[in-house]
C-alpha cells in the first residue's frame, strides 16, 4: 500500500442484521432481520420531518464520523467540519416523499402540501441534512447515477480530496425499500436494500496529522461499458495474451500494488460466469445478503472490502458496480492497510 493517496478512516453502517463491521463478512441469504430503527440508534431528536432515507443516512454518517474519531456521540458537531465534504449517493432516496407530495396535490389540493415537508422533496436533501446535523461545511453534493452511483460517489469524494477541495469526505450511500420504490422499479420491496452505509475518506496527510488509522487505501477507479472491460483494465494481467479485451475507459486515482483476493461483483452477477483474469478470486455479491442496493451498492461494497481486510481474508479487493446491460460499469481497487499485510 502506498503511504500517499486516499484512505478510508471511518465506517458507519445502518443495515438490517448488522451490529458491527465484521458482520459484513458473513455471506449467505438475507437474514430475516428487522430494518434499522434510526430513533433507536441515534435518538429521536432531529429526526422529525426527515424522510427515511435521510434518517438512515444520519445514522450511518454519525457512526462513520465517530469511528473516524471526528465526533463523539455526545459531541456531534465536527470540529474539522470546514474541511470536510459530503458526497451522498441515492437513486430512489426521496422517491416516496416526491410521489406522496405529487399524489396529494393530484388527489387533494394545493393546500394539502405542508411547507415543512418541502425540503424532503428537494433532491439534495440527504447530503445537506447530513451537513447540517454534523456541521460539515465543505463541498456538498449528491449523485443519482444509476447502478454505478455509489462507486462514483466514492471516486468523487477521492477526487475532491486529490484536487485539494477538501481534506476529507464523508461518502454516504442510502436506499429505502417501500411500496413506491417497488412499484416504480418493479423490484419487490423485500428485495430492496433498506439501509445506509457511510465511509470517511481522508488524504494520507490529513489522516496522519490527526493520528487517524487507515482501514483501506483507495486504488485506481475506472468507468467502462462492460464488466469484462472494467475488470480487464483494473487487474494486473495480460489481456492480449489471455484473449481478453482491455477496456477503453476513463480512469483516475492511485495504485494498489497487490493483486486482489476477493471480487465484489455487480448486483446479481453470475457467480460462476467465466471471466479472464478473475480465476481464483473469491466472488461476493453483497446484494444477495442485503437486497438490491441501487445507489448505495458501491459504498456498501467498499465497506464490505474494509471488513474483509480487518478479518485478514484479503490484502486487496476488486469492486465493480453495474453490468453489461446497464448505462455504465464502475470499478475500483482497494488495498488493505499496511499493518494488515
Amino acid at each position: 500500500m502506498s503511504e500517499s493517496g486516499t484512505h478510508i478512516t471511518g465506517l458507519g453502517l445502518a443495515l438490517p442484521g448488522v451490529a458491527e463491521a465484521a458482520d459484513l463478512v458473513s455471506s449467505g441469504e438475507r437474514a430475516d432481520a428487522p430494518p434499522p430503527d434510526p430513533a433507536e440508534r441515534i435518538g429521536r431528536k432531529g429526526l422529525r420531518y426527515k424522510d427515511r432515507a435521510t434518517q438512515l443516512a444520519l445514522v450511518a454518517a454519525r457512526d462513520a464520523l465517530c469511528d473516524a474519531g471526528l465526533i463523539t456521540p455526545d459531541r456531534e458537531r465536527c470540529a474539522a467540519g470546514g474541511s470536510t465534504a459530503v458526497v451522498a449517493s441515492s437513486n430512489l432516496g426521496n422517491l416516496d416523499s416526491v410521489c406522496t407530495i405529487a399524489g396529494d396535490i393530484a388527489e387533494k389540493s394545493v393546500a394539502a402540501i405542508s411547507p415543512m415537508n418541502l425540503p424532503n422533496a428537494s433532491s439534495n436533501v440527504v447530503a445537506s441534512s447530513v451537513a447540517i446535523r454534523f456541521g460539515l461545511r465543505g463541498p456538498n453534493l449528491m449523485l443519482c447515477n444509476g447502478v454505478a452511483s455509489g462507486l462514483d460517489a466514492v471516486r468523487w469524494g477521492a477526487s475532491l480530496i486529490s484536487a485539494g477541495r477538501a481534506e476529507r469526505a464523508l461518502v454516504v450511500g442510502v436506499e429505502t425499500g417501500n411500496g413506491v420504490t417497488a412499484r416504480l422499479t418493479g423490484v419487490p420491496e423485500d428485495d430492496q436494500l433498506d439501509g445506509a452505509v457511510a465511509l470517511v475518506l481522508e488524504s494520507s496527510t490529513a489522516a496522519r496529522l490527526r493520528g487517524a488509522t487507515s482501514m483501506a487505501s483507495l486504488g485506481e477507479g475506472v468507468r467502462s461499458t462492460s464488466v469484462a472491460g472494467c475488470v480487464g483494465s483494473l487487474l494486473p494481467y495480460d489481456a492480449s495474451a489471455s484473449g481478453g479485451t482491455h477496456a477503453r475507459g476513463t480512469r483516475s486515482g492511485g495504485a494498489v500494488e497487490a493483486g486482489p483476493g476477493v471480487w465484489f461483483v455487480p448486483e446479481r452477477f453470475d457467480l460462476s460466469a467465466p471471466l479472464p483474469g478473475t480465476e481464483g478470486l473469491e466472488r461476493h455479491d453483497v446484494t444477495r445478503t442485503f437486497g438490491r442496493a441501487s445507489g448505495a451498492l458501491g459504498v456498501l461494497q467498499c465497506a464490505a472490502a474494509v471488513s474483509w481486510f480487518a478479518s485478514g481474508e484479503a490484502t486487496a479487493a476488486l469492486v465493480t458496480s453495474g453490468d453489461d446491460g446497464c448505462d455504465g460499469v464502475a470499478g475500483m481497487m482497494l488495498g488493505a492497510p499496511r499493518g494488515a499485510r
Partner: protein
C-alpha cells in the same frame, strides 16, 4: 495531485435550450434584448392555485437535434439535456467520431430529474390505480438518464456519465467537476451543465412557501415577489487549452476556478457568511482578486430572502463598490438544475460578445440590496473576469469564475 502541471481549461462549445431561445444565437439575441418568457403555465393542471405563471420552453422539437435516440424514450428533461449536448458538440466543431476517440466526461446537474413524468405517473395511479401507470414512462424516470442518454446519443464508450441532483446549484457543480477532470488529465472532453423540466411538485413546493411571484420575476427590486419556475438545459463543452489550440477551436472563455461549500445551517434559508466564503473560495481557486471581477451573474432568484442575503454576501467579499450584478432569472425564470448552467453560458457569451445582459422587470432597486443590476437594458462592456453564483436549498453553494481567454494570455 497529478505529477504533471495542471492544464488550463477552456469552453469551446455551447448548447442552450431555454424559454427565451434555443441554440446559441437565439439565446444570445434574447439575452441582449432582454426578452421575457413568462406565460400562464400549461405543462400541468393549475386549478386551485391563485396564480400560475411560468417560463416554459415552447414548441420544443427534440427530433431537430437528436439523431440516434428516439425522443419518446426520454423524459422532457433528458430530451433537453441531450439536445443541448448535441448543440454544444456541433458548436465546438467536433464530430461524433472525434469525441469517441478520447476519454469523455458527461456531468449533468438537476433538481427534479424526470419529476414531470413522476407527476403524471402518480396522478394516473391516484385516479385509476397502480395498473394505470405507463411502463414506458416509468422507464424514463431514473434521473441517471439525464447524463447517460447523452453518452448513448453520442455513442461514447470511454465515458464517465454522472447526474448530480444538487438542486439549484447543480449546473455549477457539474462544470466544476468537468474542470477538475480536464485539469488533472483524467479526461479530454467534458460535456457539463444542467437540465430540468417544469413540474407541479416543485412549483407547488415554492408556492406553499409563498415564494412564487404572481406575474413576473424582479431580482433585487424593492417590490420583488419571488421566483417564476422555468425549464430548459445548458451544456458547455470543456477541453484543455492545448487541445483547443491544436484543433483551432473557437474559445469562448477560460474556466479559471471554482468554489464549493455548504452552509450546514438550514434546509432552505441561505447563510450570508457561508455564501461569502464560497465566493472567496472560488476567487482564491481562480487566483483572481475581487477587484478584477467585471460582473457577477447572481443566483438572484427574486425572493426576499435570497436577494438580500446574496447582495450582503457580495458586499462582504467585494466591499462597498461591488461589480455590476445581474440575474438572468428575470428573463428565463428559475430553471432549477439548469439555472447555473444557462447562466454560465450567458457569462461565456457576455465575455465573447462584450456585453452584460440586463436584469429585466426592474422598477426600483431595493436599498437593502443596493446593487447595480443593469436594469432592463443590456450594456456594452469589455469583460475579462466574470463570476457565476449558484446557491441551493440545503445550503449547497457553488461559484465558478470565467475569464476571457485572450485577456489572460496577452
Amino acid at each position: 495531485m497529478p505529477a504533471s502541471p495542471a492544464r488550463r481549461v477552456v469552453i469551446t462549445g455551447l448548447g442552450a435550450v431555454s424559454s427565451i431561445g434555443t441554440g446559441r444565437e437565439a439565446f444570445l439575441s434574447a439575452l441582449r434584448s432582454g426578452r421575457t418568457a413568462a406565460k400562464p403555465i400549461t405543462a400541468f393542471d393549475t386549478t386551485g392555485y391563485e396564480h400560475a405563471i411560468g417560463c416554459a420552453v415552447a414548441d420544443f422539437e427534440p427530433e431537430q437535434w437528436m439523431r440516434n435516440l428516439a425522443p419518446e424514450t426520454l423524459g422532457r428533461a433528458s430530451q433537453f439535456s441531450v439536445s443541448a449536448a448535441r448543440m454544444a458538440v456541433a458548436d465546438a466543431g467536433l464530430t461524433d467520431g472525434e469525441l469517441r476517440e478520447q476519454p469523455c466526461l458527461v456531468s449533468i446537474g438537476t433538481t427534479d430529474g424526470e419529476s414531470h413524468d413522476l407527476d403524471h405517473l402518480v396522478e394516473s395511479e391516484v385516479r385509476h390505480g397502480p395498473g394505470a401507470m405507463d411502463a414506458g414512462i416509468a422507464r424514463r424516470v431514473p434521473a441517471g438518464r439525464l447524463s447517460a442518454a447523452i453518452a448513448h446519443e453520442l455513442g461514447l464508450e470511454q465515458v464517465e456519465a454522472v447526474t448530480l441532483p444538487t438542486a439549484c446549484a447543480a449546473g455549477n457543480y457539474a462544470i466544476g467537476y468537468g474542470y477538475d477532470a480536464i485539469r488533472s488529465g483524467d479526461t479530454e472532453y467534458a460535456l457539463c451543465g444542467g437540465a430540468d423540466a417544469l413540474c407541479r411538485k416543485t412549483f407547488t413546493g415554492f408556492y406553499r412557501l409563498g415564494t412564487i411571484a404572481p406575474e413576473r420575476c424582479q431580482p433585487f427590486d424593492k417590490n420583488r415577489q419571488g421566483i417564476l419556475t422555468g425549464e430548459g438545459a445548458g451544456v458547455l463543452l470543456l477541453e484543455s487549452l492545448e487541445s483547443a489550440v491544436a484543433r483551432g477551436a473557437r474559445i469562448y472563455a477560460e474556466v479559471l476556478g471554482y468554489g464549493l461549500n455548504c452552509d450546514a445551517h438550514h434546509p432552505v434559508a441561505p447563510n450570508q457568511d457561508s455564501v461569502a466564503r464560497c465566493m472567496q473560495l472560488a476567487l482564491d481557486d481562480a487566483e483572481v482578486k475581487s477587484s478584477e471581477v467585471d460582473f457577477i451573474s447572481a443566483h438572484g432568484t427574486g425572493t426576499k430572502a435570497n436577494d438580500v442575503t446574496e447582495a450582503a454576501a457580495i458586499r462582504q467579499v467585494f466591499g462597498d463598490r461591488p461589480p455590476r450584478t445581474v440575474s438572468i432569472k428575470s428573463m428565463i425564470g428559475h430553471t432549477m438544475g439548469a439555472a447555473s448552467a444557462l447562466a454560465s453560458i450567458a457569462c461565456a457569451l457576455a465575455i465573447t460578445e462584450g456585453f452584460i445582459p440586463p436584469t429585466i422587470n426592474h422598477v426600483e432597486t431595493d436599498p437593502e440590496c443596493a446593487l447595480d443590476c443593469v436594469p432592463n437594458e443590456a450594456i456594452e462592456a469589455d469583460l475579462r473576469v466574470v463570476q457565476n453564483n449558484g446557491l441551493a436549498f440545503g445550503g449547497n453553494n457553488a461559484v465558478v469564475i470565467f475569464g476571457r481567454h485572450e485577456g489572460r494570455t496577452a
